[in-house]
Protein backbone atom coordinates (compact mmCIF):
# COMPACT_ATOMS: atom_id res chain seq x y z
CA UNK A 1 0.00 0.00 0.00
CA UNK A 2 2.77 2.40 0.84
CA UNK A 3 4.30 2.10 -2.63
CA UNK A 4 1.53 4.24 -4.10
CA UNK A 5 1.97 7.10 -1.65
CA UNK A 6 5.53 8.17 -2.32
CA UNK A 7 6.99 10.01 -5.29
CA UNK A 8 10.27 9.34 -7.07
CA UNK A 9 12.13 11.45 -4.45
CA UNK A 10 10.81 9.40 -1.55
CA UNK A 11 8.42 12.10 -0.32
CA UNK A 12 4.66 11.80 0.00
CA UNK A 13 2.90 12.28 -3.33
CA UNK A 14 -0.48 13.99 -3.57
CA UNK A 15 -2.37 10.83 -2.67
CA UNK A 16 -0.04 10.24 0.28
CA UNK A 17 -0.57 13.78 1.57
CA UNK A 18 -4.33 13.39 1.06
CA UNK A 19 -4.37 10.11 2.99
CA UNK A 20 -2.53 11.68 5.91
CA UNK A 21 -4.95 14.62 5.94
CA UNK A 22 -7.94 12.26 5.88
CA UNK A 23 -6.40 10.43 8.84
CA UNK A 24 -5.93 13.70 10.74
CA UNK A 25 -9.50 14.78 10.08
CA UNK A 26 -10.93 11.41 11.06
CA UNK A 27 -8.51 11.15 14.04
CA UNK A 28 -7.26 7.83 12.71
CA UNK A 29 -3.55 8.55 12.31
CA UNK A 30 -2.91 5.29 14.17
CA UNK A 31 -4.33 3.45 11.12
CA UNK A 32 -1.90 5.00 8.68
CA UNK A 33 0.79 2.69 7.27
CA UNK A 34 3.84 2.85 9.50
CA UNK A 35 6.06 3.85 6.58
CA UNK A 36 3.96 6.97 5.98
CA UNK A 37 3.86 7.92 9.67
CA UNK A 38 7.58 7.34 10.08
CA UNK A 39 8.43 9.41 7.01
CA UNK A 40 6.28 12.40 8.02
CA UNK A 41 7.64 12.23 11.58
CA UNK A 42 11.09 12.88 10.13
CA UNK A 43 10.37 15.10 7.12
CA UNK A 44 9.56 18.80 7.51
CA UNK A 45 8.86 19.17 3.77
CA UNK A 46 6.07 16.60 3.95
CA UNK A 47 4.76 18.08 7.20
CA UNK A 48 4.48 21.42 5.38
CA UNK A 49 2.37 19.80 2.66
CA UNK A 50 0.22 17.83 5.10
CA UNK A 51 -0.37 20.86 7.33
CA UNK A 52 -1.00 23.11 4.34
CA UNK A 53 -3.69 20.80 2.95
CA UNK A 54 -5.18 20.16 6.39
CA UNK A 55 -5.45 23.87 6.96
CA UNK A 56 -7.44 24.24 3.72
CA UNK A 57 -9.80 21.38 4.48
CA UNK A 58 -10.08 21.45 8.27
CA UNK A 59 -13.67 22.69 8.12
CA UNK A 60 -14.77 20.51 5.18
CA UNK A 61 -16.88 17.60 6.44
CA UNK A 62 -15.83 14.00 5.83
CA UNK A 63 -18.73 11.58 5.91
CA UNK A 64 -19.30 7.99 4.94
CA UNK A 65 -16.75 5.21 4.95
CA UNK A 66 -13.12 5.70 4.05
CA UNK A 67 -11.44 3.46 1.46
CA UNK A 68 -8.51 2.55 3.71
CA UNK A 69 -8.92 4.00 7.18
CA UNK A 70 -11.98 2.07 8.28
CA UNK A 71 -11.69 -0.34 11.22
CA UNK A 72 -9.95 -3.58 10.17
CA UNK A 73 -12.31 -6.55 9.70
CA UNK A 74 -12.96 -8.28 12.97
CA UNK A 75 -10.93 -11.51 13.03
CA UNK A 76 -11.84 -14.21 15.50
CA UNK A 77 -8.68 -14.86 17.45
CA UNK A 78 -8.70 -17.59 20.08
CA UNK A 79 -6.52 -16.61 23.02
CA UNK A 80 -3.54 -18.95 23.60
CA UNK A 81 -4.83 -19.95 27.04
CA UNK A 82 -7.90 -21.53 25.46
CA UNK A 83 -5.67 -23.67 23.28
CA UNK A 84 -3.71 -24.89 26.31
CA UNK A 85 -6.91 -25.80 28.13
CA UNK A 86 -8.19 -27.62 25.05
CA UNK A 87 -4.87 -29.46 24.74
CA UNK A 88 -5.03 -30.68 28.36
CA UNK A 89 -8.56 -31.95 27.84
CA UNK A 90 -7.62 -33.71 24.59
CA UNK A 91 -4.56 -35.26 26.27
CA UNK A 92 -6.64 -36.49 29.19
CA UNK A 93 -9.22 -38.04 26.86
CA UNK A 94 -6.40 -39.60 24.85
CA UNK A 95 -4.81 -41.19 27.95
CA UNK A 96 -8.15 -42.57 29.09
CA UNK A 97 -8.81 -43.95 25.62
CA UNK A 98 -5.38 -45.63 25.51
CA UNK A 99 -5.93 -47.32 28.90
CA UNK A 100 -9.39 -48.48 27.95
CA UNK A 101 -8.24 -49.81 24.59
CA UNK A 102 -5.10 -51.65 25.73
CA UNK A 103 -6.25 -52.53 29.24
CA UNK A 104 -3.84 -53.48 32.13
CA UNK A 105 -0.68 -55.41 31.09
CA UNK A 106 -0.68 -59.30 31.91
CA UNK A 107 2.61 -59.23 33.63
CA UNK A 108 4.49 -56.42 35.21
CA UNK A 109 7.51 -55.40 33.18
CA UNK A 110 10.69 -56.84 34.71
CA UNK A 111 13.50 -54.45 34.64
CA UNK A 112 17.10 -55.60 34.73
CA UNK A 113 18.73 -54.33 37.92
CA UNK A 114 21.75 -53.21 35.88
CA UNK A 115 19.68 -50.96 33.70
CA UNK A 116 18.85 -47.74 35.29
CA UNK A 117 15.62 -46.29 34.09
CA UNK A 118 15.81 -42.76 32.95
CA UNK A 119 13.52 -40.45 34.80
CA UNK A 120 10.29 -39.93 32.87
CA UNK A 121 10.20 -36.60 31.26
CA UNK A 122 7.11 -34.66 32.20
CA UNK A 123 4.46 -34.96 29.56
CA UNK A 124 3.99 -31.88 27.56
CA UNK A 125 0.62 -30.39 28.12
CA UNK A 126 0.59 -28.96 24.66
CA UNK A 127 -0.16 -31.32 21.82
CA UNK A 128 -1.01 -30.66 18.23
CA UNK A 129 -3.72 -28.10 18.61
CA UNK A 130 -4.21 -25.67 15.80
CA UNK A 131 -1.81 -22.79 16.22
CA UNK A 132 -3.39 -19.45 16.99
CA UNK A 133 -1.93 -17.66 13.98
CA UNK A 134 -3.90 -19.94 11.60
CA UNK A 135 -7.22 -18.29 12.33
CA UNK A 136 -5.72 -14.84 12.05
CA UNK A 137 -4.05 -15.77 8.77
CA UNK A 138 -7.34 -16.96 7.27
CA UNK A 139 -8.96 -13.63 8.11
CA UNK A 140 -6.07 -11.70 6.59
CA UNK A 141 -6.17 -13.73 3.37
CA UNK A 142 -9.93 -13.11 3.06
CA UNK A 143 -9.31 -9.38 3.43
CA UNK A 144 -6.90 -9.54 0.47
CA UNK A 145 -9.79 -10.50 -1.78
CA UNK A 146 -12.13 -7.69 -0.79
CA UNK A 147 -12.94 -5.57 -3.86
CA UNK A 148 -11.71 -1.97 -3.92
CA UNK A 149 -14.77 0.18 -4.68
CA UNK A 150 -12.84 2.89 -6.52
CA UNK A 151 -10.78 0.54 -8.68
CA UNK A 152 -13.80 -1.68 -9.40
CA UNK A 153 -15.42 1.35 -10.93
CA UNK A 154 -12.55 1.73 -13.37
CA UNK A 155 -12.47 -1.90 -14.47
CA UNK A 156 -13.77 -2.34 -17.99
CA UNK A 157 -14.74 1.30 -18.46
CA UNK A 158 -13.92 2.95 -21.77
CA UNK A 159 -11.15 5.26 -20.76
CA UNK A 160 -9.70 6.76 -23.88
CA UNK A 161 -12.65 5.96 -26.07
CA UNK A 162 -10.64 3.43 -28.04
CA UNK A 163 -10.88 -0.33 -28.15
CA UNK A 164 -8.61 -2.20 -25.81
CA UNK A 165 -9.19 -5.94 -26.11
CA UNK A 166 -7.68 -8.01 -23.36
CA UNK A 167 -7.02 -11.70 -23.91
CA UNK A 168 -4.95 -12.31 -20.79
CA UNK A 169 -4.95 -12.32 -17.81
CA UNK A 170 -8.34 -13.84 -17.19
CA UNK A 171 -10.15 -13.64 -13.90
CA UNK A 172 -8.00 -16.29 -12.24
CA UNK A 173 -4.26 -16.25 -12.61
CA UNK A 174 -1.23 -18.31 -11.75
CA UNK A 175 0.70 -17.00 -8.78
CA UNK A 176 4.02 -17.77 -10.43
CA UNK A 177 3.66 -15.42 -13.38
CA UNK A 178 1.03 -13.25 -15.03
CA UNK A 179 0.93 -12.96 -18.80
CA UNK A 180 -0.56 -9.86 -20.37
CA UNK A 181 -1.96 -9.98 -23.89
CA UNK A 182 -4.10 -7.31 -25.47
CA UNK A 183 -5.02 -5.71 -28.76
CA UNK A 184 -5.00 -1.94 -28.92
CA UNK A 185 -5.39 0.65 -31.63
CA UNK A 186 -2.18 2.27 -30.41
CA UNK A 187 1.18 0.52 -30.41
CA UNK A 188 3.48 0.60 -27.38
CA UNK A 189 5.25 1.40 -25.24
CA UNK A 190 2.98 1.28 -22.22
CA UNK A 191 3.42 1.16 -18.51
CA UNK A 192 1.76 -1.55 -16.44
CA UNK A 193 0.99 -0.94 -12.78
CA UNK A 194 -0.22 -3.81 -10.60
CA UNK A 195 -2.10 -2.78 -7.46
CA UNK A 196 -3.36 -4.81 -4.55
CA UNK A 197 -6.93 -4.43 -3.37
CA UNK A 198 -5.93 -1.61 -1.05
CA UNK A 199 -4.58 0.48 -3.90
CA UNK A 200 -0.95 -0.25 -3.05
CA UNK A 201 1.47 -0.61 -5.96
CA UNK A 202 2.80 -4.17 -6.06
CA UNK A 203 4.69 -4.08 -9.34
CA UNK A 204 5.38 -1.66 -12.16
CA UNK A 205 6.90 -2.37 -15.50
CA UNK A 206 7.51 -0.77 -18.88
CA UNK A 207 6.01 -2.81 -21.70
CA UNK A 208 7.27 -2.49 -25.25
CA UNK A 209 5.22 -5.27 -26.81
CA UNK A 210 2.70 -7.93 -25.88
CA UNK A 211 2.53 -10.72 -24.87
CA UNK A 212 4.34 -9.61 -21.73
CA UNK A 213 4.95 -11.79 -18.69
CA UNK A 214 5.49 -10.56 -15.14
CA UNK A 215 7.11 -13.10 -12.88
CA UNK A 216 5.76 -13.62 -9.40
CA UNK A 217 5.26 -15.11 -7.02
CA UNK A 218 2.06 -13.22 -6.26
CA UNK A 219 0.45 -13.70 -2.88
CA UNK A 220 -3.18 -14.90 -2.87
CA UNK A 221 -5.46 -11.95 -3.35
CA UNK A 222 -7.37 -9.68 -5.68
CA UNK A 223 -5.23 -7.46 -7.90
CA UNK A 224 -5.97 -4.64 -10.27
CA UNK A 225 -3.81 -3.68 -13.20
CA UNK A 226 -3.58 -0.41 -15.03
CA UNK A 227 -2.17 0.20 -18.49
CA UNK A 228 -0.89 3.73 -18.90
CA UNK A 229 0.29 5.33 -22.13
CA UNK A 230 1.46 8.92 -22.52
CA UNK A 231 0.31 9.61 -18.97
CA UNK A 232 -3.21 8.53 -19.85
CA UNK A 233 -5.06 5.59 -18.44
CA UNK A 234 -5.71 3.15 -21.28
CA UNK A 235 -7.16 0.19 -19.45
CA UNK A 236 -7.91 -1.15 -15.99
CA UNK A 237 -8.37 -4.84 -15.36
CA UNK A 238 -8.31 -7.24 -12.46
CA UNK A 239 -7.29 -10.78 -11.65
CA UNK A 240 -7.30 -13.11 -8.66
CA UNK A 241 -4.53 -15.31 -7.40
CA UNK A 242 -5.68 -18.15 -5.20
Amino acid sequence: MTGSHFDEHGHLNEEGVALYVDALKLERTNRLPEAIRAHVAGCQECRVNVTGLFSLLAEEPLTGSHPTLEKPARVWVIPPAAYRIAAVIVTAIGIVAVFQFFGKPDRPVQQSPQVATAPRAPESTITHAATPPERVERGEIAANFKPNAELEGLVGSELRGETFEVTSPGELSDRRAITFVWKSAESGPWKIVILDNRGGIVREADVRAVPFALNGPFKPGLYYWKVIQNDELAHVGKFRVE
Binding site: V21, R47, T51, S55, L62, E150, L195
Partner: protein, 258 residues
Protein backbone atom coordinates in the same frame (compact mmCIF):
# COMPACT_ATOMS: atom_id res chain seq x y z
CA UNK B 1 -17.86 28.19 5.21
CA UNK B 2 -17.95 24.38 4.93
CA UNK B 3 -19.45 22.66 1.89
CA UNK B 4 -22.27 20.14 1.94
CA UNK B 5 -20.97 16.62 2.76
CA UNK B 6 -20.34 14.46 -0.30
CA UNK B 7 -20.45 10.71 -0.64
CA UNK B 8 -17.07 9.46 -1.83
CA UNK B 9 -18.44 6.58 -3.89
CA UNK B 10 -20.91 8.85 -5.67
CA UNK B 11 -18.11 11.31 -6.31
CA UNK B 12 -15.93 8.58 -7.75
CA UNK B 13 -18.68 7.31 -10.05
CA UNK B 14 -19.11 10.84 -11.37
CA UNK B 15 -15.35 11.28 -11.62
CA UNK B 16 -15.20 8.27 -13.97
CA UNK B 17 -18.38 8.82 -15.91
CA UNK B 18 -18.40 12.59 -16.37
CA UNK B 19 -15.21 14.57 -15.59
CA UNK B 20 -16.89 17.88 -16.46
CA UNK B 21 -19.83 17.06 -14.23
CA UNK B 22 -17.49 16.15 -11.41
CA UNK B 23 -15.54 19.38 -11.75
CA UNK B 24 -18.82 21.29 -11.62
CA UNK B 25 -19.69 19.59 -8.36
CA UNK B 26 -16.22 20.47 -7.05
CA UNK B 27 -16.54 24.22 -7.80
CA UNK B 28 -17.76 25.08 -4.32
CA UNK B 29 -14.66 23.56 -2.72
CA UNK B 30 -12.46 25.16 -5.36
CA UNK B 31 -13.92 28.57 -4.58
CA UNK B 32 -13.35 28.09 -0.86
CA UNK B 33 -9.70 27.15 -1.44
CA UNK B 34 -9.10 30.24 -3.57
CA UNK B 35 -10.92 32.44 -1.06
CA UNK B 36 -8.66 31.12 1.71
CA UNK B 37 -5.60 32.00 -0.31
CA UNK B 38 -7.02 35.43 -1.08
CA UNK B 39 -7.72 36.05 2.60
CA UNK B 40 -4.22 34.97 3.49
CA UNK B 41 -2.77 37.40 0.97
CA UNK B 42 -1.34 34.83 -1.41
CA UNK B 43 -3.66 35.99 -4.18
CA UNK B 44 -5.31 39.36 -4.76
CA UNK B 45 -9.06 39.50 -4.41
CA UNK B 46 -9.56 41.02 -7.86
CA UNK B 47 -7.79 38.00 -9.40
CA UNK B 48 -10.23 35.44 -7.91
CA UNK B 49 -12.17 34.73 -11.11
CA UNK B 50 -9.00 34.56 -13.22
CA UNK B 51 -7.48 32.12 -10.78
CA UNK B 52 -10.59 29.94 -10.76
CA UNK B 53 -10.57 29.92 -14.54
CA UNK B 54 -6.89 28.98 -14.66
CA UNK B 55 -7.38 26.20 -12.13
CA UNK B 56 -10.34 24.73 -14.01
CA UNK B 57 -8.40 24.78 -17.26
CA UNK B 58 -5.44 23.03 -15.65
CA UNK B 59 -7.66 20.45 -14.00
CA UNK B 60 -9.39 19.60 -17.29
CA UNK B 61 -6.07 19.42 -19.09
CA UNK B 62 -4.50 17.18 -16.47
CA UNK B 63 -7.59 15.08 -15.85
CA UNK B 64 -6.30 11.90 -17.55
CA UNK B 65 -3.08 12.07 -15.51
CA UNK B 66 -4.96 12.82 -12.31
CA UNK B 67 -7.17 9.82 -12.97
CA UNK B 68 -4.24 7.58 -13.88
CA UNK B 69 -2.33 8.45 -10.74
CA UNK B 70 -5.23 8.08 -8.31
CA UNK B 71 -5.21 4.65 -6.67
CA UNK B 72 -8.37 4.98 -4.62
CA UNK B 73 -6.76 4.84 -1.20
CA UNK B 74 -8.13 8.19 -0.03
CA UNK B 75 -11.21 10.39 -0.27
CA UNK B 76 -11.34 11.68 -3.84
CA UNK B 77 -12.03 15.29 -2.87
CA UNK B 78 -9.07 15.33 -0.49
CA UNK B 79 -6.84 14.02 -3.26
CA UNK B 80 -8.14 16.58 -5.71
CA UNK B 81 -7.65 19.35 -3.18
CA UNK B 82 -4.01 18.26 -2.80
CA UNK B 83 -3.66 18.64 -6.58
CA UNK B 84 -5.39 22.04 -6.48
CA UNK B 85 -3.18 23.22 -3.63
CA UNK B 86 -0.07 22.43 -5.66
CA UNK B 87 -1.57 24.19 -8.69
CA UNK B 88 -2.25 27.28 -6.53
CA UNK B 89 1.32 27.28 -5.28
CA UNK B 90 2.57 27.01 -8.88
CA UNK B 91 0.31 29.93 -9.88
CA UNK B 92 1.56 31.98 -6.93
CA UNK B 93 5.21 31.33 -7.83
CA UNK B 94 4.59 32.14 -11.50
CA UNK B 95 2.74 35.33 -10.54
CA UNK B 96 5.46 36.36 -8.10
CA UNK B 97 8.07 36.22 -10.81
CA UNK B 98 6.01 38.56 -13.01
CA UNK B 99 5.68 41.84 -11.12
CA UNK B 100 2.60 43.84 -12.02
CA UNK B 101 2.36 47.60 -12.39
CA UNK B 102 -0.13 49.09 -9.93
CA UNK B 103 -1.56 52.49 -10.87
CA UNK B 104 -1.21 55.07 -8.12
CA UNK B 105 -3.66 57.51 -9.63
CA UNK B 106 -6.62 56.20 -7.63
CA UNK B 107 -8.08 54.14 -10.48
CA UNK B 108 -7.20 50.79 -8.89
CA UNK B 109 -10.21 49.39 -7.11
CA UNK B 110 -9.43 47.04 -4.26
CA UNK B 111 -12.50 45.06 -3.16
CA UNK B 112 -12.98 44.68 0.55
CA UNK B 113 -11.29 41.52 1.82
CA UNK B 114 -12.70 39.88 4.91
CA UNK B 115 -9.69 38.89 7.02
CA UNK B 116 -11.61 38.26 10.22
CA UNK B 117 -13.31 34.93 9.55
CA UNK B 118 -10.60 32.62 8.36
CA UNK B 119 -8.00 32.44 11.08
CA UNK B 120 -10.38 31.97 13.93
CA UNK B 121 -9.11 30.48 17.15
CA UNK B 122 -10.79 27.09 16.78
CA UNK B 123 -9.24 26.61 13.34
CA UNK B 124 -5.79 27.56 14.61
CA UNK B 125 -6.13 25.25 17.56
CA UNK B 126 -7.14 22.43 15.21
CA UNK B 127 -4.16 23.07 12.94
CA UNK B 128 -1.79 23.17 15.91
CA UNK B 129 -3.03 19.80 17.15
CA UNK B 130 -2.70 18.38 13.64
CA UNK B 131 0.89 19.60 13.56
CA UNK B 132 1.73 17.91 16.85
CA UNK B 133 0.19 14.63 15.67
CA UNK B 134 2.68 14.48 12.82
CA UNK B 135 5.62 14.06 15.15
CA UNK B 136 6.53 10.59 16.34
CA UNK B 137 3.93 9.96 19.03
CA UNK B 138 6.01 7.34 20.82
CA UNK B 139 9.46 8.91 20.94
CA UNK B 140 9.53 12.52 19.91
CA UNK B 141 6.15 14.02 20.78
CA UNK B 142 6.24 13.42 24.55
CA UNK B 143 9.76 14.88 24.68
CA UNK B 144 8.73 17.82 22.49
CA UNK B 145 5.71 18.61 24.68
CA UNK B 146 7.91 18.44 27.77
CA UNK B 147 10.40 20.85 26.21
CA UNK B 148 7.64 23.21 25.04
CA UNK B 149 6.35 23.42 28.60
CA UNK B 150 9.86 24.23 29.79
CA UNK B 151 10.40 26.78 27.03
CA UNK B 152 7.39 28.75 28.22
CA UNK B 153 8.04 28.08 31.91
CA UNK B 154 4.82 26.17 32.52
CA UNK B 155 4.90 24.03 35.68
CA UNK B 156 5.99 20.45 35.03
CA UNK B 157 4.04 17.50 36.40
CA UNK B 158 5.18 13.96 37.10
CA UNK B 159 3.28 12.67 34.06
CA UNK B 160 5.11 15.05 31.73
CA UNK B 161 8.38 13.28 32.54
CA UNK B 162 7.01 9.76 32.70
CA UNK B 163 5.41 10.08 29.26
CA UNK B 164 8.79 10.37 27.54
CA UNK B 165 10.73 8.42 30.18
CA UNK B 166 8.52 5.81 31.86
CA UNK B 167 11.55 4.32 33.62
CA UNK B 168 12.66 7.58 35.19
CA UNK B 169 14.24 6.96 38.58
CA UNK B 170 12.69 8.41 41.67
CA UNK B 171 15.71 10.58 42.42
CA UNK B 172 15.83 12.07 38.93
CA UNK B 173 12.10 12.71 39.02
CA UNK B 174 12.23 14.42 42.38
CA UNK B 175 15.17 16.54 41.36
CA UNK B 176 13.32 17.77 38.26
CA UNK B 177 10.03 18.38 40.01
CA UNK B 178 11.70 20.17 42.90
CA UNK B 179 12.73 22.95 40.54
CA UNK B 180 10.32 22.73 37.65
CA UNK B 181 6.95 22.04 39.23
CA UNK B 182 6.67 25.52 40.66
CA UNK B 183 7.64 28.96 39.44
CA UNK B 184 10.94 28.89 37.60
CA UNK B 185 10.65 32.05 35.56
CA UNK B 186 14.03 33.23 36.80
CA UNK B 187 15.89 30.25 35.36
CA UNK B 188 17.63 30.80 32.04
CA UNK B 189 17.30 28.51 29.04
CA UNK B 190 20.80 27.27 29.70
CA UNK B 191 20.11 26.44 33.35
CA UNK B 192 16.98 24.50 32.42
CA UNK B 193 18.84 22.66 29.69
CA UNK B 194 21.62 21.70 32.10
CA UNK B 195 19.04 20.38 34.53
CA UNK B 196 17.10 18.23 32.04
CA UNK B 197 19.94 17.00 29.79
CA UNK B 198 21.04 14.09 32.05
CA UNK B 199 17.45 12.81 32.26
CA UNK B 200 16.86 13.20 28.52
CA UNK B 201 20.11 11.35 27.84
CA UNK B 202 19.11 8.49 30.12
CA UNK B 203 15.74 8.29 28.39
CA UNK B 204 17.31 8.19 24.91
CA UNK B 205 20.46 6.28 25.74
CA UNK B 206 22.50 9.14 24.28
CA UNK B 207 25.15 11.59 25.37
CA UNK B 208 23.87 14.96 24.17
CA UNK B 209 25.21 18.20 25.55
CA UNK B 210 22.95 20.92 26.95
CA UNK B 211 23.72 22.99 23.82
CA UNK B 212 22.53 20.17 21.59
CA UNK B 213 19.28 19.91 23.55
CA UNK B 214 18.75 23.68 23.31
CA UNK B 215 19.44 23.57 19.58
CA UNK B 216 16.97 20.72 19.11
CA UNK B 217 14.24 22.65 20.94
CA UNK B 218 14.88 25.80 18.88
CA UNK B 219 14.77 23.83 15.62
CA UNK B 220 11.52 22.16 16.61
CA UNK B 221 9.91 25.47 17.56
CA UNK B 222 11.08 26.84 14.23
CA UNK B 223 9.54 23.83 12.47
CA UNK B 224 6.21 24.36 14.27
CA UNK B 225 6.14 28.08 13.43
CA UNK B 226 6.86 27.33 9.76
CA UNK B 227 4.00 24.85 9.74
CA UNK B 228 1.64 27.32 11.42
CA UNK B 229 2.57 30.11 9.04
CA UNK B 230 2.48 27.95 5.92
CA UNK B 231 4.70 27.74 2.90
CA UNK B 232 4.53 30.11 1.14
CA UNK B 233 4.00 32.00 4.41
CA UNK B 234 0.48 33.25 4.87
CA UNK B 235 0.39 33.54 8.66
CA UNK B 236 2.22 35.63 11.22
CA UNK B 237 2.66 33.32 14.18
CA UNK B 238 5.65 33.90 16.39
CA UNK B 239 7.03 32.56 19.66
CA UNK B 240 4.55 34.60 21.69
CA UNK B 241 1.45 33.45 19.83
CA UNK B 242 2.82 29.92 19.97
CA UNK B 243 2.92 30.25 23.74
CA UNK B 244 -0.84 30.84 23.76
CA UNK B 245 -1.42 27.71 21.69
CA UNK B 246 0.87 25.62 23.89
CA UNK B 247 -0.85 26.87 27.03
CA UNK B 248 -4.24 26.12 25.54
CA UNK B 249 -3.08 22.65 24.51
CA UNK B 250 -2.23 21.72 28.10
CA UNK B 251 -5.22 23.43 29.69
CA UNK B 252 -7.77 24.38 27.07
CA UNK B 253 -9.11 27.85 27.70
CA UNK B 254 -9.44 29.44 24.27
CA UNK B 255 -13.06 29.77 23.16
CA UNK B 256 -14.27 31.22 19.93
CA UNK B 257 -16.13 34.37 20.82
CA UNK B 258 -19.65 34.79 19.37
Amino acid sequence: MATVPHDNEEDFALFLRDPHGFLLSYQETLRIVVKIYVQSGMFRAQDTEDILQALNEELLLRFPTIRAKFNGSTILRTYLSAVVRNLCIDLYRADKSNPKVVPLDGTLHLPHVDVTGRYDIEHTRRVFRAILKQFDYKLELPRLLFCLKLRYRFPIEREDVLKFYPGCGRNDLERLLKTLSGNYETLTEWEISELITPVLNKADGRDNTPEAILRWVRVRIGNILTLLNGSPPTGAFDQETLKILVEDFFSPFLDETE
